[in-house]
Symmetry: C2
Subunit: 202 residues, 2 copies
């Protein structure tokens, strides 16, 4: 993977692996669409998936240009001036052509990656896809070839003369916090939440 | 605002007002781009802004078609089967043409909305924009005309026969949690963080 922008592959991979959703952009007849969806990274490939019946998947599978963006919000940057207010974030923008995964082995590997991307360890505990479920699911792959990352971190950057103003400035850090798992109301009695649900972390 | 999709304006507005970033999609020469940025809603108009020098702002200001999407992630949905794993989320997709705000009064109102959208009450405490800062900032407006919301909530929906499996299923709720504010290392001594930073909530 060529390293575009200011960051290396390792930084890009870390942002992608921490993200839970991506925003997929594509155009149909000149109208752009931006759709949130799950994803997974395997080596230098990004996978997205969805119902084989969805418009997005059908459109993308034709091999049109896409842009997939993953953004992590890290904090609110409160400067002394309105102008320098900002947010701390890390984002990755990926350009290219997504294509349909047809190899069954690659497809099942990608589905495993989707599940374990959301909850590491979950794949081993669940009922795996049937033939008809596999048929109903389209998986698309985007090679990570044209990728750039953007990162803003740290305190506000104010104009020199504003540092003397009697205005508090700093950062309010934001984190995504898991709460206690909520059992399915139809859960069979006696089943305890697994460790990855009780102590979820990324 | 016409109510597209399953949800009314009030639901759409609530999602927008809770979101901190949007993903703006636009196409240049057939290549879509999806860029994360701040935003604010005022009545039935969405505002985005940025440096007057940025490619995105310059491109959008030409009046091309855009898609702006705001997504809130609410939880991880752990089903009994791989196939029914999902996420709980609320999203709003807005289509239309963004245009440059030229009226100075509307522009300053939008800038106030950006700041107060991130941290309610902040605008009253800070050094307001100068003429040259106003010139360096482009504000775009997108009328909320073609809007749809999508919401997934609640427990997993498994296949009938899977409910008997000895597999824990449920939801891991996710929330964005503010941490204690971090003062700018260059902060003048004696300045305490304001209430909206100490007890930040949305």
């Amino acid at each position: 993977m060529p390293d575009r922008g200011a960051y290396d592959s390792e930084t890009v991979f870390r942002i992608l692996d921490e993200g839970l959703i991506c925003h997929v952009g594509f155009s149909v007849d000149g109208q752009p669409y931006v759709i949130p969806t799950g994803f997974a990274r395997v080596e230098d490939r990004l996978y997205i998936h969805g119902s084989a019946a969805s418009r997005m998947l059908r459109t993308l599978a034709e091999g049109i240009q896409v842009c997939v963006t993953v953004t992590l919000l890290d904090g609110l940057v409160l400067a002394r001036s309105a102008f320098h207010h900002s947010m701390n974030y890390r984002s990755v923008v990926m350009l290219g052509r997504a294509t349909l995964v047809s190899d069954p082995a690659e497809k099942i590997k990608a589905l495993e990656a989707f599940t374990d991307h959301i909850v590491h360890g979950r794949w081993n505990d669940i009922r795996l896809p049937t033939e008809s479920e596999l048929k109903a699911t389209d998986v698309l792959v985007l090679p990570l070839a044209e990728v750039s990352a953007k990162i803003r971190k740290g305190p506000p950057k104010d104009d020199a003369e504003d540092y003397e103003l009697p205005i508090w400035a700093g950062v309010v850090p934001l984190t995504i916090t898991p709460e206690a798992p909520i059992a399915d109301p139809r859960l069979n009695s006696g089943l305890e939440p697994p460790w990855y649900a009780k102590k979820y972390s990324r």
